[in-house]
Amino acid sequence: MFKILKYSFYDLIRSRWSYVYFLFYLALGFVLLFLNNDVSKAVITLMNVIIVLIPLIGTIFGVMYYYNSREFTELLLAQPINRRSIFMGQYFGVAGSLTLSLVLGLGIPFVLYGLLRSNAIFDFTLLLVTGAFLTFIFVGLSFVIAISNENKIKGFGYAVLLWLFLAVVYDGLFLMSLIIFEEYPLDTFSLVATALNPIDLSRILILLKLDISALLGYTGAIFKKFFGTDLGFLVSMAILLLWTILPILGLGHKAKRKDF
């Protein structure tokens, strides 16, 4: 597994796309900090980008990588190697290289602009941690989709749909249900609904750490009471971890059964 991981990882590290991805974050970080020198304000703007882009790129990159390396996968399958480790290796290779691009791409400009001396370092770390989680989650989901669909177009379609659902449609349904049931106490419902979607969960986790959480008012106070405590933080990390592990298990399960 580690050999394949290493191979996939180096393959991706050498590929153009990781460089583009890395340079994109590098440029984004520098431009943001150039435009306003305030590290903690840049974190807010970054949050908007990260929450939408990371899942999208993770999804598309994962699907693309799986379909492109199909022939190599088939070659590997002919060797006496455990199937699980082939796919796991590829998965961790992709997710790992994307995460590395993210961390380095954003980390370098922020460190140069004095992150270590500012008190935004914890917020920034949280941003990177949730970013890494989102990468692993969405690459995993896209691998599961790709392995279940022989047809590339279908696979791409489902993957993008999944992203669209979690990033946009879910919030729409959430909003509708909040408005329809506005007569009822909705605190617990909105807490649970937020926690169930990794994108929403990451957004709230980061928002609550920032000044802007004051805008959340009364509802924010309830969220803060839950997510702000150590227990709430652990629970939300556990949920993100669960979201990461489930696709991985699914991937292992599918890989074992699939007829190539």
């Binding site: 939408v52 408005i179 605190d187 805008l215 509802t219 924010g220």
Partner: protein, 416 residues
């Protein structure tokens, strides 16, 4: 007859002074090893219109009653220490001047509003260059008029609202100037209740537990060029008429229940040239009518203006709205307020005829802020992609927000 007019009294005083008869104003020196070492005792033996010079030192006295016209002046800031026993100065006479004292340790009481300086039913007083620390109430003006509170420094260390007092409090007082004071760390920085025709200028009120400035039932007042910063809830103007608010700065009143300014039941006011920067809510308006908002800057607030209800015939003209999360939040479909010629940083229209006014009207109420007003829980969707999308579509063709709530003449560039 001759002495009945106050001006004549002064002229007479001047004449007597000129011919060298020191009947009117003798000067008393007070210091710890002088003949007169107690402020209280010296006041008791002084004549009206005398001057008391308090030399540098520490005077452990409280409940000092000033019941005749006197000038009490500190040299090099003598300390008057109340030892937390009660009220310190109580002025109960017209024409009293207090100048340059350092007053500390006012007694905290749960039944009496002890103040460092209390002025009761007096006229023509002047309180200036005082420094008040470790206080309960600072300067308390009670049923007094025609006075001046000038250039004082009031530094409290209030922690809880229930056992702290206000910096400068005016109660049933009229025609008073409050000028160039600095108030911090009290409950309300400056508090007015039933006080008319008050001028509040060039003060700084910051880090107070509750409000920087608080009006209740006070009419025809003017406050201008003040700075209100980092107060618990900002500035509250309530149940008052004909208030003019000019060129003040409201900054960093940030918190779940904080705002730059709260207007409640305010009629016929003018709000001109103020700056609202980084407040959770710039102005929270409730039941306020016929108010003119002109030339104000709203910068980086959560909500620039939040209209809660029953606000009619207000006009918002030539204001700058820069980088607020929400420009305006509005809770009904009915709109009777005018928005005209403002600059909105999120305006995306164009100006083909190059007259500096956008050709497309701007709708300042986002659908999201409308939804949040209806169902507060939906605020959890703040900054999600979905909200940006529906905000955009609502802006293109409004369905939910009041149709006529728009700025038909948005500026293309910020008002200078």
């Amino acid at each position: 007859m001759f002495l009945s007019h106050p001006n004549h009294k002064y002229i007479l005083g001047l004449l007597l002074f000129l011919i060298g008869l020191p009947i009117w104003a003798s000067t008393w020196n007070i210091c710890s090893d002088c003949k007169h070492s107690s402020i209280k005792k010296t006041i008791a033996i002084a004549n009206a219109y005398d001057t008391l010079l308090i030399q540098k030192g520490t005077y452990r006295e409280f409940e000092i009653l000033v019941d005749k016209p006197l000038v009490i002046k500190g040299i090099d800031y003598p300390i008057v220490d109340g030892e937390k026993k009660g009220e310190i100065f109580r002025i109960q006479s017209d024409d009293v001047t207090l100048d340059g004292l350092f007053i500390i340790n006012v007694g905290v009481s749960y039944t009496k509003d002890n103040a460092a300086i209390r002025v009761v039913q007096s006229k023509n007083f002047l309180i200036q260059n005082m420094v008040l620390e470790q206080l309960f109430f600072g300067i308390y003006l009670e049923k007094s008029s025609h006075g001046k509170v000038y250039h004082n420094r009031i530094i409290g260390d209030a922690v809880d609202e229930y056992n702290s007092g206000n910096g400068i409090q005016l109660w049933y007082s009229t025609d008073i100037e409050v000028l160039k004071n600095h108030v911090q760390g009290t409950r309300d920085g400056i508090y007015l209740e039933f006080s008319d025709r008050i001028t509040i200028t060039d003060n700084v009120s910051m880090d107070n537990l509750r409000y920087g400035l608080h009006f209740m039932f006070s009419n025809n007042d003017v406050y201008s060029n003040n700075t209100f910063k980092n107060n618990g809830a900002g500035v509250a103007v309530m149940f008052s008429k004909f208030i003019t608010m000019k060129n003040n700065a409201f900054r960093k009143n940030w918190g779940t229940a904080a705002y730059g300014m709260l207007l409640k039941e305010i009629n016929d006011a003018e709000i001109i040239g103020n700056t609202f920067e980084e407040n959770t809510i710039g102005i929270n308006i409730e039941g306020s009518n016929r108010i003119k908002y002109t030339n104000n800057d709203f910068i980086g607030n959560g909500w620039a203006i939040r209209v809660v209800g029953a606000c009619y015939t207000n006009s918002f003209k030539a204001n700058n709205f820069l980088y607020n999360s929400f420009d305006i939040s509005y809770n009904s479909k009915l709109n009777d307020n005018v928005f005209e010629g403002n600059f909105w940083s999120s305006y995306t229209g164009y100006d083909l005829d190059k007259d500096g006014i956008g050709d497309v009207p701007y709708r300042p109420v986002k659908l999201f802020s409308y939804v949040v007003n209806r169902t507060p829980e939906t605020i959890v969707l703040l900054r999600s992609l979905f909200m940006d999308i529906i905000d955009f579509s609502e802006r293109v063709s409004p369905v939910f927000t009041p149709d006529n709530l728009k700025d038909a003449q948005p500026l293309m560039k910020t008002r200078p």
